[in-house]
């Protein structure tokens, strides 16, 4: 049976080749050797170091240990006896975790330190990190280092890793308005985000199409604005679950309530909120953006965002502000009168600015920071200096590279999304293009570059729901994840392809059957 011998040795070779190169995203510093240690699932444990600030009872790590144990060994631990294979390998029966700074119950934030070092050698098997968030990243890396021989034995090689993210904001946007995504889809996405070291879930909750967020101050919003008020909504409990599930994975939830445009679904639940459009001298029966001329509007926003500020613990809220269509405002005589009164002339950008500024004041009074889409900057709205501007337009009004230069020159922090609209699909391996984006390739001072805090992969929902979300998102979003985590120098496509292909199969084949990205 020459044939089967050949096949066998090929598999073995694949396993050897696979082990160190299987990491995604690639760490900042790694040294690894051929020396390997056997891991016996029955006896292997994650342990807290005696001097660790986190100890048993630390929710974030206790849960993570459980999770990674399942991911690595699943149920196999109890099915397989000790392999009889005797080799010159020693055994590793634990990974010792040492966290320096206490804190297991807080939420991750933009300032969270995610650094860690991972040392696997004859003397120790240690994961050292400043915070629990760093420990989470290190656990993921550790799980990717473990490999399995064809006979089923688990190994880890002698390895030294020192790792930290290139950018502190590594996000993924999901749109639950164009299509409702069941809670399970969102939670699954959070899992895969953690595998890719993403740390921000940008939740574009509501938009023109539907209002699935169940507000307790304004329940009519969902009752009248959701696709189906019984089934296609996120209850307070759902939202809590998402936030906690994310927290346990070191992921922030950045909630977006986009106004004054993209708000058609708000209208039915809050009469008077949207601008009535006119056709000639009569209301046409259709509605435009939020009506910026009424005091009621700001009273509503004030109450609504008080709720939002309480429900979502993250320091930042996303306030939208993109793509405001002025046609309806222009048609409405009350708006025209308001413009005249305010001395805005014919410049509707001024009206938009007026609205946004008032809204920003409301939200900052609640002690929140905010992220807005680039139009707010483009339209010269006066915003607080700590505002984060999200750049999403590829070409217009200027190329996104130029826009990054403009935003940072004005001293604002920037988030990049323009080249990472993953809802746009084309035939072929488009992950390469996504991967090769260099976020800092714009003209600017080192201080300007430092203002780019990261980026986000966006999965808008016009053509996406739970039937196709996963294969459309993964592993393409993985390319963004590595760009935002790894060193700028990590940009070799062949090297990336090998690892990404391996990583995809890893996601598919883990005992708990992680998830299902497309080829």
């Amino acid at each position: 049976m020459a044939g089967s011998t050949l096949r066998f040795s090929l598999l073995l070779a694949a396993a050897f080749a696979g082990r160190a190169t299987a990491l995604w995203p690639w760490p900042q510093y790694i040294q690894t050797s051929e020396l390997r240690y056997t891991i016996f699932p029955q006896s292997f444990q994650f342990q807290y170091h005696l001097s660790s600030a986190a100890q048993v009872g630390c929710s974030v790590l206790d849960e993570a240990f459980q999770r990674y144990r399942d991911l690595l060994f699943g149920s196999v631990a109890f099915r397989f006896p000790h392999p009889i294979e005797k080799r010159h390998t020693s055994e590793k029966n634990s990974l010792v975790v040492l966290v320096v700074t206490p804190g297991c119950d807080q939420f991750p934030s933009l300032g969270s330190v995610e650094n860690y070092t991972l040392t696997i050698n004859d003397e120790q098997s240690l994961l050292l990190s400043e915070t629990v968030w760093g420990a989470l990243r290190g656990l993921e890396t550790f799980s990717q280092l473990i490999w399995r021989s064809p006979e089923g034995t688990f190994y880890v090689n002698k390895t030294d890793i020192e790792d930290f993210p290139r950018f502190p904001h590594r996000g993924l946007l999901l749109d639950t308005s164009r299509h409702y995504l069941p809670l399970a889809s969102i939670l699954d996405t959070l899992d895969v985000m953690a595998y890719n070291k993403f740390n921000v879930f940008h939740w574009h909750l509501v938009d023109d199409s539907s209002f699935p967020y169940e507000s307790f101050t304004f329940p009519e919003l969902t009752k009248k604005g959701s696709y189906n008020p019984a089934t296609h909504i996120y209850t307070a409990q759902d939202v809590k679950e998402v936030i906690e599930y994310a927290r346990l994975r070191g992921i922030r939830v950045l909630a977006e309530f986009d106004t004054p445009g993209h708000t058609l679904s708000w209208g039915p639940g809050v009469p008077g909120l949207l601008t009535p459009c006119y056709s000639g001298s009569h209301p046409s029966g259709t509605f435009g953006p939020v009506n910026p001329a009424l005091n009621n509007t700001y009273e509503f926003m004030s109450t609504f965002f008080l709720e939002i500020s309480t429900v979502f613990p993250d320091f930042y809220l996303h306030l939208g502000g993109d793509e405001v269509d002025f046609t309806c405002w222009k048609s409405n005589p009350d708006i025209q009168a308001f413009m005249k009164k305010k001395g805005f002339g014919d410049d509707f950008k001024k009206l938009e600015s007026f609205y946004i500024q008032t809204l920003l004041d409301i939200v900052s009074a609640y002690g929140k920071g905010y992220v807005v889409w680039q139009e707010v900057f483009d339209n010269k709205v006066k915003v607080r200096p700590d505002t984060i501007i999200q750049v999403w337009r590829e070409e217009i009004p200027v190329k996104y590279v130029k826009e990054l230069a403009l935003v940072t020159r004005a001293g604002f922090r920037a988030l990049l999304s323009a080249p990472w609209y993953l809802n746009h699909i084309t035939y072929g391996p488009d992950w390469k293009e996504i991967y090769l984006v260099e976020p800092l390739a714009f003209e600017g001072s080192p201080e300007q570059k430092a203002l780019v805090i990261g980026g986000e992969a966006c999965m808008w929902g016009e053509y996406v729901d739970s039937t196709n979300l996963v294969p459309r998102l993964w592993p393409r979003a993985g390319a963004v994840a590595e760009r935002l985590w790894s060193n700028k120098m990590v940009s070799n496509l062949d090297f990336a392809f090998k690892r990404l292909a391996h990583f995809r199969c890893e996601l598919l084949s883990s005992p708990e059957s992680r998830h299902t990205p497309h080829p």
Binding site: P182, E462, Y463, T467, N468, T516
Partner: protein, 537 residues
């Protein structure tokens, strides 16, 4: 009523008459609030409603039917469709007291001719049916079981749950038959292996869209997952791994599952190109390529100059012709790269002896001719990709040519049919090629007969296939990438050519996609919106 396909389709008297009557009434506008996909030839409905109670409804055979409870195709279908109609909903109790004059209690099925219960569907299978929905007994009449299957799908699409949860159907009268007899989906299990489960799921979805051919592009350069009885080394060495293999039992499972849904399984063993994976398990089959007078260690297409090649192929195709019951075998013949042949001195020598000069197309034709002859001695018919026709192979009359090249495919259709060969259209329906947005509209708007030609030429268009090639597709993304985009092709091939209203199609297809989702098919959305029963895939 146009009939088409190899001049062998016969619509027997009764149905032909009904169809002729139906042809005179306008159809599209009648679809109203109905969610039928694909749209039938003729549909009349009234506002009169009938109610169905899951506990008091059944499918049964008419006393005059030629098929009875021993007909597995029908018994299995009854069970399936009962589930599709009632099984996925929460049953609401308390509305079961339906006045008897408003209740639909039974769908009575009547097969008029020899039902073909134990046969395999074929290119000439009669799929026409008439469906009369009324109370208390609705009737479904067809010449053969194949028509019954199509009619059951239509019947299941007519029933909806009203806002009180009651199962409801409008009084309707439907006469239906397909526009084209060959309505296929091509899957590619070589670039990526597709688990049997995924193939069966695809067959389910095909039945929901009245597709009737699974074109199984089973092997190619990348892997050889077909486990051959005569040449087990082909998959032992040529598959991705020993678990990425279709055993004879897997193949039987697929064929029977397809048969029960009125779907033919058309196997493709593409040669002489696209055969890299064959070489691993069959020594000397592929042409050794030369570099500077020395074998370079790489291999090209199948070696057409060796007798051993043809004795191997003869044995392999003998097996294939037995394993796959369909009358047709797809022989491929596309994209043959001549570089390797050109480099090989033995091939050059052969060319000289045969007087082919430098024309490698003649060598390719020589090869294809040998294989085509082989197939015809096995009492099978061949389908080939368009290159085989383009390169002037002397095709046996009746050989079917599949058109896949996008550039002016109408001209190609005109030429092939003018030469008298039947054609299958795939060029505008390569669904593996994806774009942002609603590309289903472009698949839907294709006019298969929009080429210059006589009515006889148009008769030679036997249908089309939506192709989902596997370079970027495996079990993780096949279903949402295929459905509902392929549904657009499904309706184009089934419904009358006047059915072209995109707005109406959008409305029906949106609902049809939700119906597929409810039945467990992860069909992706057409655009913004929602399904009452979201997928939990």
């Amino acid at each position: 009523m146009e009939q088409r396909g190899l001049a062998r389709l016969r619509l027997p008297g009764l149905l032909a008459l009904l169809a002729a009557l139906a042809a005179r009434t306008p159809r599209v506008s009648a679809s109203g609030d109905l969610n039928l996909w694909p749209l039938p030839v003729s549909l009349k409905t009234t506002p009169r409603l009938f109610y169905l109670s899951p506990g008091n409804f059944f499918f049964g055979h008419s006393p005059t039917s030629k098929a009875g409870p021993s007909c597995a195709v029908l018994q299995e279908a009854f069970r399936r469709y009962y589930d599709y109609i009632f099984g996925f909903y929460k049953w609401h109790h308390g509305h079961n007291k339906i006045p008897s004059e408003m209740e639909l209690q039974k769908l009575e099925v009547s097969v008029i001719m020899d039902p073909e219960c134990d046969s395999f569907p074929s290119i000439t299978s009669d799929e026409s049916y008439t469906l009369l929905v009324k109370g208390p007994v609705a009737t479904l009449t067809a010449n053969r079981v194949w028509g019954v299957l199509r009619g059951l799908e239509t019947f299941s699409q007519l029933i909806y749950q009203d806002s009180y949860g009651t199962f409801t159907a409008n009084e309707s009268n439907i006469v239906d038959s397909p526009r084209f007899p060959h309505r296929g989906i091509l899957i590619d299990t070589s670039r990526h292996f597709l688990p049997v489960k995924t193939i069966l799921k695809t067959l389910d979805a095909m039945a929901f869209n009245k597709f009737n051919v699974l074109h199984w592009h089973i092997v190619d350069d990348q892997s050889f997952p077909y486990q051959s009885i005569s040449f087990p080394e082909l998959s032992n060495k040529g598959s991705y791994s020993l678990s990425h293999v279709y055993t004879p039992n897997d193949v039987r499972t697929v064929i029977e599952y397809a048969r029960l849904r009125g779907i033919r399984v058309l196997p493709e063993f593409d040669s002489p190109g696209h055969t890299e994976s064959w070489g691993k398990g069959q020594k000397d089959l592929l042409t050794p390529c030369y570099h500077a007078r020395e074998p370079s260690g790489t291999f090209g297409p199948i070696n057409p100059i060796l007798n051993s090649t043809y004795s191997f192929l003869s044995k392999l195709f003998k097996e294939i012709s037995t394993v796959f019951p369909d009358e047709f075998i797809h022989l491929g013949g596309d994209e043959v790269n001549f570089n390797c042949w050109e480099s090989n001195p033995a091939v050059l020598n052969f060319m000289m002896n045969k007087g082919f000069g430098k024309n490698f197309k003649k060598l390719q034709s020589f090869y294809m001719q040998m294989v085509l002859d082989m197939i015809s001695t096995m009492k099978k018919r061949s389908i080939v990709w368009q290159e085989v026709y383009d390169d002037e192979g002397k095709l046996l009359p009746g050989t079917v040519v599949q058109v896949w090249k996008m550039g002016d495919f109408y001209k190609e259709l005109e030429n092939i049919t003018a030469a008298g060969f039947p054609v299958i259209i795939s060029a505008p329906w390569y669904l593996d090629v994806i774009n942002y947005g609603q590309d289903w509209r472009q698949y839907y708007s294709v006019k298969p007969l929009n080429f210059a030609g006589t009515p006889e030429q148009k008769q030679l268009v036997i249908g089309g296939e939506a192709c989902i090639w596997g370079e970027y597709v495996d079990a993780t993304n096949l279903t949402p990438r295929l459905w509902p985009r392929a549904s657009a092709v499904g309706e184009r091939l089934w419904s009358p050519q006047e059915v072209t209203d995109l707005d109406d199609a959008y409305r029906r297809l949106t609902r049809h996609r939700c119906r597929m989702v409810r039945r467990g098919i992860a069909a992706q959305p057409l655009f913004t919106g929602y399904c009452e029963h979201e997928g939990r895939m």
